[in-house]
C-alpha cells in the first residue's frame, strides 16, 4: 500500500480521495474480507504489471473473498477483484480485460472527475444516511471507486483498457467473450446484472463496444493463457461452487456445471457439487440426478469424502438403511475430523443395530 510519503505530490483534493481509499483498504483487512494466497496474489499482480509496467508499485491488486461477480478500483491504486469473478473467468486474457479496465479508472483519475460532478450537483437528499458519510464496507457493491462512475467514464475505461490489453500482447478477442458468457449467466438466472456491471454500461452494450473495438483494432493471435490461469484458479473454482451452495444459490451451480465442457474447467470433485445443486433444487427427477452425480464423483475421485455422505443421506431417507450405514462408514473413514461427524453418527445410530455392527 502507498505510504504517506507517496502522497506528497498529490493536490489537496487528490489527497482527500486517497485518504478515503486507504481507509477502505484498512477496513477490508480488518474485517477479514481478503482472500489470502501469496501465489495467487503474485500471479494476478504479475498480470497487472504486464498491463501497466510504468505503474509498478502503485497499482496493487487484492483479492476479495466473495462469490459475487465484482471488481473495483480505488483512487489510491488499490484494485479489488472477487474470487467469484476470478472463478468464472476462463483464461488470463479475460482477467486482464477486467484488470486493464480497472486500471484506467486510476490512471485517468476517474474518481476525481466523478467527485467533482457529484459535489457540484444541486440535487441533494438530506436523509439521516447522509450524516454517516461515505459508503461503509458493507456497501462494496456501490464502491466502484467509492462514488461509482458515469457510463461515459466506464466506456473510456473499456476503450483505454482495450489498448492496454493489446499493448501487453493479449488476445483481444477475449474482451467481448469475457462478458458474453457472464451475460448468459445473468439471463439464465434472471437476476439483476451483477454488481460489476451495475454502474457500467449495460452488458450488451459493452459486448457490442468490444466487438467493434476488435473489428477496428484487433489483431490476430495474442496470448490467452488458459493453462496458466487454470493452474492458479482451479482451487477457487471448487470453492466458488461450495460458496454458492452455502448461500443457497444452487441455480448458479447448475448453470455453471451444465455448460458445455464444464468439466474441462472444473475439477472432477465438481460432480459432488452438481449433485448437491440437484438435491437443493428438489424438483421432480432431481433426486435421481443427484445420486448419479454423487456416484460419478465417487468413481472419479474415490478419496473425496463428501459424496459418500450425500449418498448415505439419500439412502437413509429412502429407507435403504444398510446402504446408508455403509456410505456413512466410508465417509467417516475418509474424513475422521469431519465437522458434521456428530450428525452422521447420530443418523447412523438411529438405524438398525445389526447394520451398525456389520
Amino acid at each position: 500500500m502507498q505510504g504517506q510519503a507517496d502522497t506528497q505530490h498529490l493536490t489537496a483534493e487528490e489527497q482527500r480521495v486517497w485518504y478515503t481509499a486507504r481507509e477502505l483498504d484498512e477496513q477490508m483487512e480488518k474485517a477479514d474480507y481478503l482472500y489470502e494466497s501469496a501465489a495467487l496474489q503474485s500471479y494476478i499482480q504479475g498480470v497487472m504489471q504486464k498491463l501497466y509496467p510504468e505503474y509498478a508499485g502503485t497499482l496493487n491488486v487484492r483479492v476479495v473473498d466473495s462469490p459475487s461477480l465484482n471488481a473495483f478500483a480505488l483512487p489510491n491504486g488499490s484494485i479489488y477483484i472477487n474470487t467469484g469473478l476470478l472463478a468464472r473467468l476462463d483464461n488470463e486474457a479475460q482477467m486482464a480485460t477486467v484488470l486493464a479496465h480497472e486500471g484506467v479508472h486510476f490512471t485517468h483519475k476517474h474518481s476525481l472527475q466523478q467527485r467533482r460532478n457529484i459535489k457540484s450537483s444541486t440535487a441533494f437528499s438530506t436523509t439521516f444516511g447522509m450524516v454517516t458519510g461515505i459508503p461503509m464496507i458493507g456497501d462494496l457493491m456501490g464502491a466502484s471507486s467509492i462514488y461509482g462512475f458515469s457510463k461515459d467514464l466506464e466506456r473510456e475505461a473499456d476503450a483505454e483498457g482495450f489498448q492496454r490489453l493489446q499493448a501487453a500482447g493479449y488476445d483481444v478477442t477475449q474482451a467481448p467473450v469475457t462478458f458474453e458468457f457472464l451475460m448468459a449467466e445473468v439471463e439464465a438466472l434472471d437476476i439483476d446484472e451483477p454488481y460489476f456491471f451495475s454502474t457500467h454500461p449495460g452488458l450488451q452494450e459493452r459486448i457490442d463496444n468490444f466487438r467493434e473495438l476488435v473489428k477496428q483494432h484487433g489483431t490476430v493471435g495474442g496470448y490467452r493463457g488458459v493453462e496458466a490461469y487454470q493452474a492458479h484458479i482451479d482451487s477457487l473454482r471448487e470453492r466458488l461452487l461450495a460458496d454458492y451452495l452455502e448461500l443457497g444459490q444452487y441455480q448458479s451451480v447448475l448453470l455453471i456445471l451444465t455448460e458445455k465442457d464444464a468439466f474441462t474447467r472444473y475439477p472432477p470433485t465438481a460432480w459432488y457439487y452438481l449433485g448437491e445443486a440437484y438435491r437443493l433444487r428438489d424438483e421432480e427427477g432431481d433426486a435421481d440426478l443427484a445420486v448419479k452425480a454423487y456416484q460419478t464423483a465417487v468413481a472419479r475421485v474415490p478419496a473425496f469424502a463428501p459424496p459418500y455422505r450425500a449418498l448415505g443421506l439419500h439412502a437413509m431417507k429412502t429407507g435403504q438403511s444398510a446402504q446408508a450405514v455403509s456410505w456413512f462408514n466410508r465417509y467417516l473413514e475418509l474424513a475422521p475430523e469431519a465437522p458434521d461427524r456428530a450428525y452422521i453418527e447420530m443418523y447412523r445410530s438411529q438405524m438398525s443395530p445389526q447394520e451398525i455392527n456389520r
Binding site: K30, A31, Y33, L313, M346
Partner: protein
Amino acid sequence: MNRLLCSAVILILALIAGCATTWTRIDDANRSYHGEHYSVMLPPGWMRLESSGNLLLSKDGVDLQRIIIEYHPHDKAFEKLKKTSSASMLPSELAELTLAELEASQKDSLPSLKVISNSPVDIAGHTGFLLHLSFKTDDGLRIEMLMQGFADADGYYLLTYRAPTLYYFERDRGVFESVCASFHG
C-alpha cells in the same frame, strides 16, 4: 452481516422508539411466556420486545447481547431462499438452509463468517441443530452467534443469541442456554 451492526439495528430501534411496539421488563411475574406457537421462560432482569409472535430479548442493548425467538410456518421458513421447511427435514438440512438464509439476508455476502461448529442438539423434545458462528464487523469487532432450531408439524422454530466476543458472549451465553432448555414448541 454488516447489517447486523449496531448502526443498523440501533437506528431501526430508534425509529420505532415511541411507536406502538414497546419494551417491557421481565420479572418473576411475567417471565413465563405462552404464545400461540411456543412457550418459554424468559430471563428476569432482561427486557423483551414482542412483534408478531416473535420475541427480542436484551439486557444491556441489542448490540451488546440479544436473543431472538422466532416461529415460522413451514411455507415461510426461508423466504430469501424461497424454500420451505417440513417436519421430516433432517436437522443438518435445517442447519444448512438456516445458514444460507442468514447469508442471503445480507447485502453483501459475509467473507468473514466462520462456522465454528454445527452439531445436533435436543430442543423441546426434538432433535434440532446448533450452529456456532463468528464474524467481524467492519471496524474489527468480533461477534459470535449461536443458533438453535428445529421443525415440527406446526412449523420451524429458531432461537438466536448474538453478542460481541469480547466479554459479552461468554457472560450471557448461559442465559441463552437456559432459555433454550425451557422452550416448548
